[in-house]
């Protein structure tokens, strides 16, 4: 069986739904959202806490209400949301293989937009030592248990990590009456933004930074976590669960064994400043592009991508002449987009996005063929959003690859933690 549509959107989370609704409002018909779960809405469905929706709806919402509102708007706009439908393969030219309850069929779309989001790195990916008892899970899995299934998997877990999502783990625990025993961070300081730093202490969760040798102990269930403290002394904290939080990676499983090129730095697809992938029938948007942004950011990013897709539908899908954009300093973790169309029509991303591997205080440069095209101050730490303008670079009409580099005036790594 085979059918067709104008735009197939893979993933019905914030980005996918925002994109679908925007396309319909731009007058594009034949919009299909493919969602493998039984309900659309994505990650916010199980983030049962504030703050969602301020940018999008000018209202302060909890995640599940926000997700419902996104779904409602998409349906009202005339989007065909197919839940319980998993994409099993991406083919060249925008053809998708789908399965729904064991029935397989193909869908040929004029354009496909991938919005499959991110997930947290697993215990295995982080090579965490120890036994393999029950009770080790990601924040996402915990949220799903608490907010979707009404379950409480443990009483006193240890939280590994200190990103924004780690604070979400604390809020999720509070909702379920779970009291985290401790928060352990391998780095020297909290990764979440400065104003969030007192949050765990306010919730009564002790924090330890600069820890090493984390080891999960327990036979059937988690019984303890051992670690070495910042001074190198062995410690042990008794607990009945471990929340392995953060270190997001794009959910790019579908792109393996597909016509699309993957950027090992972001873990997501290689795109140009229009969100177009290496096969011009495919676009990508939202957190699949990079780890990790807020729902509000993804919602806006998808609206912008929708406009680019709508404009692109007016012509044949065709590969563009591009130059590569890449990072060329060990401090820089990734840059997005990875390709630039030099003589592009207006409407592309105004800014590139970067992230750091380590704290930097210095400058950021864009160079091409030995020429400096742009520079700006850089003074931040990993996991924070870094933006740099694309305009000055493409108007300089580079014919060579563009490299993003840093000059480090002072690496904050050497500063002792507060």
């Amino acid at each position: 069986m085979s059918e067709g549509c104008r735009v197939a959107i893979v993933g019905g989370g914030t980005a996918g739904l925002s994109l679908a609704t925007t396309l319909r409002r731009l007058g594009v018909s034949g919009i299909v959202v493919l969602e493998r779960e039984e309900d659309a809405g994505g990650v916010p469905r199980h983030c049962g806490h504030y703050p969602f929706g301020l940018r999008e709806f000018k209202r302060l919402l909890k995640g599940p209400d926000y997700a419902r509102r996104l779904v409602r708007e998409a349906i009202a706009a005339g989007v065909d949301i197919r839940t319980g439908t998993a994409v099993t393969k991406l083919h060249k030219g925008g053809r998708l293989s789908l399965v729904c309850g064991g029935e397989t069929y193909d869908l040929q779309a004029e354009r496909v937009v991938l919005c499959t989001g991110v997930r947290e790195a697993s215990r295995a990916q982080r090579l965490i030592s120890g036994d393999r008892p029950i009770g080790v899970m990601s924040t996402g899995a915990l949220q799903g248990m608490v907010f979707l299934q009404g379950l409480r998997p443990f009483h006193r877990p240890v939280i590994l990590g200190s990103e924004l999502v780690s604070l979400s783990a604390i809020m999720t625990c509070a909702h379920a009456g779970i009291k985290p025993a401790m928060m352990l961070e391998e780095g020297p300081r909290m990764l979440a933004r400065g104003f969030m730093r007192p949050f765990p202490a306010l919730r009564g969760v002790p924090m330890r930074f600069g820890v090493g040798n984390i080891r999960i102990l327990g036979n059937r269930r988690v019984e303890a976590v051992s670690y070495t403290d910042a001074g190198g002394l062995p410690r042990e904290v008794s607990c009945d669960g471990v929340i392995v939080s953060g270190r997001f990676r794009p959910e790019a499983a579908l792109m393996q064994d597909s016509p699309l090129e993957i950027d090992p730095d972001t873990g997501g697809p290689v795109i140009d400043q229009f969100g177009r992938c290496s096969d011009p029938h495919y676009f990508a948007s939202g957190n699949l592009l990079r780890p990790v942004e807020t729902s509000g950011w993804c919602w806006q990013e998808a609206r912008d991508t929708a406009k680019r897709v709508a404009a692109d539908l007016a012509q044949e899908a065709r590969a563009q002449a591009t130059v590569t954009l890449s990072v060329n300093s060990p401090e820089l973790r990734f840059v997005l987009p990875q390709r630039l169309v030099p003589d592009a029509p207006p409407g592309g991303m105004a800014q590139m996005q970067l992230r750091l591997n380590k704290p930097v205080s210095g400058r950021l440069y864009a160079t091409s063929g030995g020429q400096r095209l742009w520079s700006g101050a850089l003074n931040t730490v990993p996991e924070r959003r870094i933006l740099a303008p694309i305009g000055p670079i493409i108007t300089a009409a580079p014919i060579h690859e563009v490299l993003m580099e840093t000059s480090v005036v002072c690496s904050m790594e050497s500063r002792p933690p507060k």
Binding site: G102, L127, I134, N219
Partner: protein, 463 residues
């Protein structure tokens, strides 16, 4: 006399690892009324829960050893019965690769040993030939040889299929039934377990990592001692499976086959095992430094692995003994056979071991006659290279998207003739949560679906 005491089984197989499962099948097919006693809540919970999932030819086993004989006959029987039992195989073949000069010099004697062991189709290969077949391997390799007859198999479905066939033909399985004491009255063994008293005419010790301890409990002494050897593994993303066709074996040393690069029948690529001697018979923990070393070792042999993510890590324990060969010891006066020291080759050799043991004439066999038309139950079908349930209508939808495990598969396992008691057991039967996301997406739905069925429960803490 209690009801438990009224049944006298022909055979009590103690331990339900792959060897115990094969033993139960063999004795049941031979007509013996068999009981399997497992001390854990689920089968395959000891050494058999983690291995490299390869059906070996035994080309490098010590010639003339019992191990070599059992691998050879086990290998043949596996290929004979696997289609009827519905067990998938993937014939990838293996390559022994030498990475330095001393290893290269050993190849000739390994080839000779392979031919001695009845594996005649081994073939020397030059560096260029190997790289033509496996272009992703590192170019510093020096040479090697191929063993075309090595297969990838599903290690859990294999053992489950053996035991399920035994159960379908009248055998019984008792779990949480650690044999604590046993008395032999000259005719019948009376075994006491937390799950009740079991009586049997013959005892076969397939207790693996605890084999010597069981001997001591029942015979007062053991003629071997178990020296557990831990092996850690790193499993890479399914995207890495395209890098390699064959199983890549190192030139083996005395204690270990060394670190192997292999695909799995579930579509991953893995590197391991390590060989770590330890005292503990239960500590299968992993260690970050060792795992990093394994990953590095994999990248040295297959440089493109550096770009592929890790999906899983695990460790297994091999029940090596104080000797180089298997320790299969009969106690005819006691109707007792001890099957010990089945080190890393148990998966390949299990059927051969079972036939070997069943053919040892202990006099007990005269009581029963082989089944003429034994029932054959359907096993789990989890190969990534064969049709799966997600492609079949009416499956209730996919719960675990990374491994494409359906609701119907999970319910079939929970409601089946040998339901899992733990999440580990459910994973072995269905692969649920074993993929890329390691449960990030499906754990909540799985916790709801398995509520009240697994212990420990996924969704509720112990009080």
């Amino acid at each position: 006399m209690s009801e438990a005491n009224s049944t006298v089984f022909d055979v009590a197989v103690i331990g339900s690892g792959v060897v115990g499962c094969a033993m139960a099948r063999r004795y049941t097919l031979n007509g013996a009324h068999t009981v399997v006693l497992e001390k854990e809540p689920d089968v395959l919970d000891g050494a058999s829960k983690a291995n490299s999932a390869i059906l070996h030819t035994g080309f490098d086993a010590p010639p003339g050893s019992l191990e070599q004989a059992c691998i050879a006959s086990g290998y043949r029987e596996y290929l004979d019965i696997r289609e009827a039992l519905g067990l998938p195989v993937l014939k990838t073949g293996a390559l022994v690769v030498a990475w330095d000069k001393p290893q290269l010099e050993q190849l000739e004697s390994l080839l000779k040993k392979a031919r001695q062991n009845g594996v005649p189709d081994v073939r020397p290969m030059s560096k260029a030939e190997i790289l033509a077949q496996e272009p992703a391997l590192a170019t510093h390799l020096l040479g090697g040889f191929s063993i075309p007859g090595e297969y990838l198999i599903d290690p859990w479905a294999t053992a489950h299929a053996y035991l399920l066939q035994a159960l379908a033909n009248g055998a019984e399985l008792r779990r949480n039934a650690e044999v604590l004491t046993g008395v032999f009255d000259g005719e019948i063994w009376t075994l006491s377990t937390p799950a009740g008293v079991v009586r049997a005419r013959q005892v076969i010790n397939c207790a693996g990592l605890f084999g010597d301890i069981l001997d001591q409990r029942l015979l007062g002494q053991s003629r071997f001692s178990i020296h557990p050897r831990k092996g850690q593994f790193v499993v890479f993303d399914k995207s890495a499976a395209a890098l390699l066709q064959a199983i890549v074996l190192p030139v083996p040393s005395k204690t270990t086959k060394g670190v192997v690069l292999f695909r799995t029948i579930f579509g991953n690529l893995a590197v391991g095992p390590t060989a770590e001697e330890q005292d503990s018979r239960t500590d299968a923990s992993t260690d970050r430094t060792t795992l990093q070393g394994l990953r590095q070792k994999g990248i040295e042999m297959l440089p493109a692995l550096a770009r592929h993510e890790i999906t899983a890590t695990y460790a297994g324990l091999r029940p090596a003994s104080n000797e180089q060969d298997y320790r299969i010891i009969t106690e005819p006066q006691k109707n007792y056979i001890s099957v010990g020291g089945i080190r890393s080759t148990g998966l390949s050799a299990a059927l051969g071991i079972a036939s070997h043991v069943a053919a040892l004439n202990t006099g007990a066999e005269v009581r029963y006659a082989p089944l003429s038309a034994p029932a054959i139950p359907l096993p789990d079908r989890l190969s990534d290279y064969h049709e799966r349930d997600w492609q079949v209508a009416g499956n209730g939808g996919i719960i675990c998207h990374c491994e494409k495990v359906t609701k119907r598969e999970i319910l079939a396992a929970l409601d089946g003739p040998m339901p899992p008691a733990t999440l580990q057991g459910l994973k072995r039967r269905t692969r649920v949560t074993m993929g890329r996301c390691q449960g990030f997406y499906c754990t909540p739905a799985l916790a709801a679906l398995t509520k009240g069925r697994l212990d420990p429960a996924l969704g509720e803490p112990d009080e």
